[in-house]
């Protein structure tokens, strides 16, 4: 099997794993995901660049966990972490890139 095919097969397996059926999330899963999201959001705050959508996802995660819906809580916490990380990337890259838009 060529290297390209091996990589492609690997990607398909990974993709299948990400969308296929999985076990119900536990409270521990949620707590770990929420802690990671919260830490990323705090870093976004340190960079003065938090997103309202991250805050909303964190809030949804918390509310879902309070009702015992850990599947939803986990999904929202993971979404919050992804959003927070994107805001960090944005803030970091914009430290230089803002000049591209400047009027000269």
């Amino acid at each position: 099997m060529s290297v390209v095919m091996k990589n492609f097969t690997f990607a398909v397996i990974m993709l299948a794993g990400s969308v296929g059926p999985s076990l119900a999330a536990s409270e521990a899963d949620f707590k770990a995901a929420f802690a990671a999201a919260d830490a990323a959001e705090k870093e976004g705050g340190r960079l003065r660049n938090q997103w309202t959508t991250t805050e909303a996802a964190l809030s949804t995660a918390k509310k879902a966990a309070e009702t015992g819906n850990f599947d939803q809580a986990l999904r929202s916490a993971q979404e919050a972490e992804a959003l927070a990380k994107a805001s960090i990337v944005q803030a970091t890259s914009e430290q230089q890139r803002w000049k591209d838009m400047e009027i000269h």
Binding site: G17, E55, E81, K85, M101, H104
Partner: protein, 288 residues
């Protein structure tokens, strides 16, 4: 444990962009900051982009860009929606504090006709002082509680002070102090920096797209955008200050707003006001 949705892919893509961006040249040193050259380039950009707009008309924001809106505004100005705020502000301004002193005691020329000089750079403190901040400091030093920075009383007071400066050109000074230049540069960086989930900077709307519509609104040019502050906005059903405008803009692009009168917002106001030097104060204003 479940894996993450497609947002992870987006995050990875953004991370790659960041790595590419990280190889850009470092930010310029403060001694390379040239506010006068910036202001000239800024003015020239808008004058060239909108040759049909009279210079002093840039302070009228969307009304300078769209003839239909201009007609509606002219009609509205016969009974301007900021009139009640203006009257209330005048009354508040002249009413003494509990200690018998007045706002007039805190400002040059008794606070009349001085709005065009704000924000100022306070060389003792090493920071930008906006009119809103100066008003609340005046209250606090006279034993009064500070007002909210975003609307109501603060908007009324600034409406009155702006009115007493109508027609006077913005005259923002940047002293020969590296801290003032740094504040100016920080304001400029904030203006051009993309933020929020929508990845917009202030410039995305007010430099790249003035005159264009974003949903039902016509975007105002950045040149002269603060000259009409504070404003009555139909969208708000009331008056709002410069602080309100900044925080609302951030929310609209899905960014968490900073606290009103944060250093960043004050520096932003300093930059935007400076590059509009020469344009007349037209506040209080009315916007859709």
């Amino acid at each position: 444990m479940r894996t993450r949705p497609t947002l992870s892919i987006l995050t990875a893509a953004l991370a790659l962009c960041a790595l590419i961006g990280a190889s850009s040249p470092a930010a310029l040193a403060i001694d390379a900051v040239d506010p006068a050259a910036d202001a000239k380039a800024f003015r020239d950009f808008f004058v060239k982009k909108f040759p049909q707009v009279k210079f002093e008309d840039f302070v009228n924001g969307p009304y300078s860009m769209n003839e239909d809106m201009r007609k509606q505004w002219k009609d509205k100005e016969q009974f301007p929606p900021y009139e009640f705020a203006l009257e209330a502000g005048k009354e508040m301004f002249s009413k003494p504090f509990k200690n018998g002193k007045h706002y007039a005691d805190c400002f040059e020329n008794g606070g009349i006709g001085v709005r065009q000089t704000y924000p100022t750079f306070d060389e003792k403190e090493g920071q930008v002082i906006t009119l809103e901040l100066a008003l609340n400091r005046c209250r606090e030093v006279n034993g009064e509680q500070p007002y909210s920075y975003v609307k109501d009383e603060m908007a009324q007071l600034t409406a009155y002070m702006a009115f007493t400066s109508r027609g006077k050109p913005f005259d923002i000074k940047i002293p020969n102090d590296p801290r003032a230049l740094e504040a100016y540069e920080n304001g400029k960086r904030y203006f051009y920096t993309r933020r929020g989930q929508l990845n917009f900077s202030c410039a995305s709307c007010h430099v790249q797209n003035p005159g264009e519509r974003i949903r039902a609104e016509v975007l105002a040019p950045a040149f002269g955008i603060l000259n009409a502050m504070p404003i009555y906005r139909s969208e708000w059903s009331g008056m709002g200050t410069t602080s309100r405008r900044f925080t609302t803009c951030n929310s609209q692009i899905r960014g968490v707003p900073l606290e009103p009168q944060s250093l960043e917002y004050r520096d932003l106001e300093y930059y935007l006001s400076y590059v509009s030097n020469g344009l007349p104060i037209s506040g209080p204003g009315a916007r859709p």
